[in-house]
């Protein structure tokens, strides 16, 4: 009985102590609100974009904390904590919304910039393409003009060549055009060309100058009168004389070949004076353009 009484006293004291303990009152909702508040406080967007909402949320939380400190009813604490919690969430949402709006503004600016860059690049491209096309057109035009000029020059040269060859009574052969300088253009039995001979050579020189791709082979011939050695010598000297005359008129020596054949390759029988005169001659073979002159076929 006595022991039971003692037990009861101890129990009562414990209860009294528990009542006096300073463990602060709280509720799960208040705990949540406090945690939410810390999270919002750590979110820089909230400070930047929702300072007013956050301040109101802080005031609501203060009221809930005060109620808890004053040991208000759990109901009251919960109610105030709930409002604080909703306001903190509101501040977070407002911050999120304003941040998104700022992002929209920023993205719009970037889009404008990218569009502008794209348009600029397109314009640059178009300009480059246009100037390239223009350059190409000018190039083509210049090429056409040059080709036309070249064609005209060629035609001019060809017609001039033809006219000169006609004047020189040139004959077309397998080896090229052949101009014959007859005996009458040389001094008798000598190698020097007379005035008419020089005139013929001048025309040939002109052809050579205008047709740099052509070469000549100067070939001397005689009739069968006199010794073979004399005739060979005379034919060589006459050929050399013509070659020298061409060179003196500006035709490069490397384009002039020469040879004396003496009485070989007669163009007529040596039985009459006039036929012998035909045989005393210098033949100048003008090569075809860019071609070499094939050697004379073996004696017939």
């Amino acid at each position: 009985m006595k022991l039971n009484f003692l037990k009861a006293i101890v129990l009562a004291a414990t209860v009294a102590l528990a009542a006096c303990s300073t463990v602060p009152t709280t509720t799960p909702t208040l705990d949540e609100a406090r945690a939410d508040f810390v999270a919002a406080n750590n979110n820089p967007q909230v400070a930047t974009y929702a300072p007013m909402e956050f301040k109101q949320a802080g005031e609501a939380l203060d009221r809930a904390n005060q109620a808890a400190a004053k040991r208000g009813s759990l109901d009251t604490i919960d109610r105030l904590a709930y409002v604080a919690k909703q306001r903190i969430a509101t501040a977070q949402e407002v911050a999120k919304s304003k941040a998104a709006e700022a992002e929209v503004a920023n993205a719009s600016r970037q889009r404008d910039r990218v569009q502008l860059e794209a348009r600029t690049a397109e314009a640059d491209r178009a300009r480059r393409d246009a100037s390239a096309a223009q350059a190409q057109a000018q190039d083509a035009q210049a090429q056409a003009a040059a080709a036309q000029q070249q064609a005209a020059q060629q035609a001019d040269r060809a017609s001039r060549l033809e006219a000169l060859l006609v004047e020189l009574h040139a004959q077309k052969t397998d080896r090229g055009m052949v101009v014959t300088i007859g005996d009458v253009l040389f001094a008798t039995d000598r190698a020097e060309l007379n005035a008419n001979g020089m005139a013929t050579v001048r025309k040939l020189a002109e052809i050579m100058m205008q047709n740099p791709d052509r070469t000549v082979m100067v070939e001397g011939f005689t009739d069968s009168t006199g010794s073979a050695a004399h005739n060979k010598d005379l034919s060589e000297r006459r050929a050399a004389s013509v070659a020298q005359a061409l060179a003196s008129l500006g035709v490069p020596r490397e384009r002039i070949g020469m040879r004396g054949y003496g009485e070989a390759f007669p163009v007529a029988s040596n039985d009459t004076a006039s036929n012998r005169q035909l045989n005393r001659r210098v033949e100048i073979v003008l090569s075809n353009e860019g071609a070499t002159i094939p050697p004379r076929a073996a004696q017939r």
């Binding site: 109610r79 409002v83 909703q86 999120k96 992002e103 993205a107 990218v114 794209a118």
Partner: protein, 130 residues
């Protein structure tokens, strides 16, 4: 009774009527009514911001508390009415700000996607010409 005494009697009667009316009105009635009105506005704003689609839980909580606040008001439980109205307002504001942030976030996402596609197109256009 002359006119003067009649006038006095009427004045006393009117004063008594005013006094009795004042005695009947609770001092908590006016703030509670005002709080409910403010909450009502907050709910309407949230609804027009698109809260029913974008923050249904919050707006439903706000509407539920508004209804209960109106019931408390009708039952002359002004303290409860005011408390519920304050909570309904907090719910409605959260609903509204949630709806707004959802819309703004969607707009930002859409614009960023546009920007990404645009950049891709520009890059392609730039690399195509060569």
């Amino acid at each position: 009774m002359d006119t003067k005494s009649m006038n006095l009697l009427m004045r006393v009667g009117a004063a008594a009527a005013v006094l009795s009316l004042a005695a009947c009105a609770s001092p908590e009635k006016t703030p509670a009514t005002a709080a409910v009105a403010v909450s009502h506005n907050a709910v309407e704003n949230a609804v027009s911001a698109g809260a029913p689609e974008l923050a249904p839980a919050e707006i439903n909580a706000a509407r539920d508390k508004m209804m209960r606040a109106n019931q408390a008001l009708a039952a002359r439980d002004y303290k409860t009415a005011r408390e519920l109205a304050v909570q309904a307002q907090a719910d409605a504001k959260l609903a509204q700000s949630k709806a707004n942030s959802a819309k703004a976030t969607a707009a930002a996402d859409a614009l960023n996607e546009d920007l990404r596609v645009l950049r891709q197109e520009v890059d392609r256009a730039n690399s195509d010409q060569h």
